[in-house]
Amino acid sequence: MGVEGIGARVARKEDKRFITGAGRYVEDMVLPGMRQAVFVRSPHAHAAITSIDVSKALEMPGVVGVLTGRELKADGIGNIICGWMIHSKDGSPMKMGAWSPLAVDRVRYVGDAVAIVIADTKGQARDAAEAVEVSYDVRDAVTQAVDALKPGAPQLHPEAEGNLIFDWELGDAAPTDAAIASAAHVTTMHIVNNRLVPNAMEPRAALGYYDKAEDHYTCWTTSQNPHVARLVMSAFYNVAPENKLRVIAPDVGGGFGSKIFIYPEEIVCLWASKKTGVPVKWVADRTESFMTDAHGRDHVTEVKMAFDADNRITGLKVDTIANFGAYMSLFSSSVPTYLYATLLSGQYNIPAIHANVRAVYTNTSPVDAYRGAGRPEATYLLERTMETAARELGVSPAELRRQNFITEFPHQTPVIMCYDAGDYATSLDAAMQAADYAGFPARRDEAKQRGKLRGIGMSAYIEACGIAPSAAVGSLGAGVGLWESAEVRVNAVGTIEVLTGSHSHGQGHETTFAQLVAGRLGIPIEQVSIVHGDTDKVQMGMGTYGSRSGAVGMSAVFKALDKVEAKAKKIAAHLMEADEGDIVIENGALKVAGTDKNVPWFQLALAAYTAHNLPAGMEPGLKETAFYDPSNFTFPAGCYICEVEVDPDTGTTEIIQFVAADDFGNIINPMIVEGQVHGGVAQGIGQAMLEGAVYDRESGQLVTASYMDYTMPRASDVPSFKVSTSNTPCPGNPLGIKGCGEAGAIGSPPAVMNAITDAIGSNDLTMPATPEKVWAALHAATKH
């Protein structure tokens, strides 16, 4: 087997278990004596709990226990918190309402957990949950953030007057207003970014086990960041001290952000295991996932973009209302602030930017990071506005963008970010060529002959990934550092285990991380194993989200490898009586450069552990650890083009082609990177054309709570994608990686909407652009 290092299209090592049914997810775990849990949840969007009677449920067959919020509070379990402090522009801290893992006297959204029922089987637990009698005093509910800000709206939390969590700003208002006042042209947009449900295919699950003998807890959970889960559950929720709590995230079936956060269920299962003396497993039904997984997006934004007489952008003003749902989820406050407004310069030179963001409580599921997290919202408003401006100004959308591109780096934007490297024109050209942009008018005319409406739209996105320099995010309010750790353990026979704080839930780390090591040392990737997802094995880590595992997680591995290599070279030099500076590592051996003297890697490893003949004073063994803290964000960017055909009779839209031209910096495994783009683009197409979480405005019921009601993209809804990459290596990390996990979901929605609105000749269209909405917009436009 040859060496499969950086840049190789290596088939994934982890696939074998998944394609043979041997993957091990939380739901697959079985412990002796384990029982099944079902949560009693609020059927009301907003109500006071007047009483809970569990007596009937306790008598049901198989029931082991029924526990409520009062008992949870009596045991000192803490409230769920948001870990990123945002201050309003008046200097006051964000107004965080209390979120008890089990509601005590009030429920604030449909699905709010009220009690846990534990029984021998899930069926029995479900039956008993129906026998728990909860009396509610139902209150008025509000589901739209705009409505929640109105005087007289139902109030959710006493801490947040008027349901306002914060009123925050970034940038400079005065020069922005001046730019708009003196502009030759101002494009004004009302932008709605629809609420989405992440819908990882594996529903959330938790298995809590309290070991009485050791006074120790173990939690198997569907987490993207088990160490953060342990930290938060220890430090804030008083579940157990860190040394008494092990968190394991085994195979996890997709996350897309929704499995970053610490939810009530894992806390309650751990606590309930101690209370009942049995291991307690809970697995969400899909409807439960729809109701209680943190949702994404849900912004309403007013935009003004100012241009001078030469069509150069002179200013951008953004006013956003962000729906946070009923409680502040773990990183909710960072999403519409530092992950959003800091990207409002896009790929463009914009001298003045001002953003105002109001975060609002409503009687809906909590909202937090979902693939892209803030960056899709920024890109959507910018790229819809750019395309609209081009139409208003009568210029080519491509050329308007090109004219305003940032071309010199580093580039300091007016909204914190300093872009380190990029080449936006190259991506634009690549996308236009792949899409045959120049040939579009002929295709449009041909479609017209057939009675169809063709449209083309583009989007030039930028995102900030590689999250993130710890000191920088700390100064912006983050409660954690965002470095990553790695430990490279060389075994005595030369095989290697890499322990990483990153977590793979579809990204293929077991392959790409092994490629890095195999390439460096010249050994087969079969000899490299990646260990992740267990707080007992990996000391500490920050997990996987924000396209950070390559740029940050692999950089930590790289740094640890530096140390391993340095020690190995010392040993090799000693063994071969050569100068340390002459030792090179090639093809699985340490060689004296320019000679045929060498020590094979496995012999070197053995020498490190036998320790019979090491340099004087050297410790035996070969194992090194590194914590890597990035010096900057990374800035993946690219250009997406979508071409659609609309049937004017039915409003049905077909995507004819979708082109993605991305700059991700250096790439470890092109096959995996392409897969990330495919998946991200499909999610973005889903947002643009199919998906939307809908709450009944009066009752607060989630209307879209199953796959019968919420339209997931299916194979026939999306085309095969044309993807390509260019490369301006990231100067900020040793591997030159920018990150690729979220780009597809960030860049695609505006490209799709620009294409559809181009086809129908009306800009009055919101996501998801369903056939009904497209038809209505088309016919409203043609009436005038």
């Binding site: 088939a11 994934r12 982890e14 696939d15 074998k16 278990r17 998944f18 394609i19 043979t20 049914g21 041997a22 993957g23 091990r24 997810y25 739901e27 697959d28 079985v30 089987t121 069926g123 819908n199 990882a200 295919m201 594996e202 529903p203 195979d251 996890v252 079936g253 997709g254 897309f256 697995v283 039904d285 899909r286 409807t287 839930h505 579809g506 990204q507 293929g508 096959m671 995996i672 392409e674 897969g675 495919h678 998946g679 991200g680 683009v681 499909a682 999610q683 199953s706 796959y707 019968m708 997931m712 993209p713 299916r714 194979a715 026939s716 999306v718 095969s720 994608f721 597809g744």
Partner: protein
């Protein structure tokens, strides 16, 4: 309670289950065959697809009692020992999976799809036929590629056997 008796992955199994036990729960919880997954409550996602008497079935839509007397093949029974089924191999070679959760159902549905189309498959047919299987990771691009590639191998194999 119901007595059930069926053949699963070539093995005779018998047991007594609650009447309401679904086939998927019988496979997972009674037989320990956890490769078959549950991704929804409404028979939409297809993560639970297995073969019952040679046909793809969503095992969340069938009671274990209904399956009594049948021959069931799950993802665990698809490979021939250490030799992967061509569909499994194609999913790996074409990167047709990421998190792996929908994958068992995808593969079982895809095998059935190829079997039902001895004339061969094209992209549009594969996409239409995948209506009952949802994947959130791959955007389907590489799943479609994998199925088309596997169908070539499988049909060639059938032709050779026929010859």
């Amino acid at each position: 309670m119901s007595d059930v008796s069926l053949t699963v992955n070539g093995r005779r199994v018998t047991g007594t289950v609650e009447d309401r036990t679904l086939l998927v729960h019988y496979l997972r919880e009674h037989l320990g065959l956890t490769g078959t997954h549950v991704g929804c409550d409404t028979s939409q996602c297809g993560a639970c697809v297995v073969h019952v008497d040679g046909k793809a079935v969503k095992s969340c839509t069938m009671l274990a009692a209904q399956a009594s007397g049948s021959t069931v093949v799950t993802i665990e029974g698809l490979a021939n020992g250490a030799e992967l089924h061509p569909m499994q191999a194609a999913f790996k070679e074409n990167h047709g999976l990421q998190c792996g959760f929908c994958t068992p159902g995808m593969i079982m549905a895809a095998v059935d799809m190829v079997n039902r189309h001895p004339e061969g498959l094209d992209e549009a047919t594969v996409r239409a036929e995948l209506e009952g299987n949802i994947c959130r990771c791959t955007g389907y691009h590489n799943i479609v590629k994998a199925i088309l590639a596997a169908s070539q191998v499988m049909l060639k194999g059938t032709a050779q056997v026929a010859a």
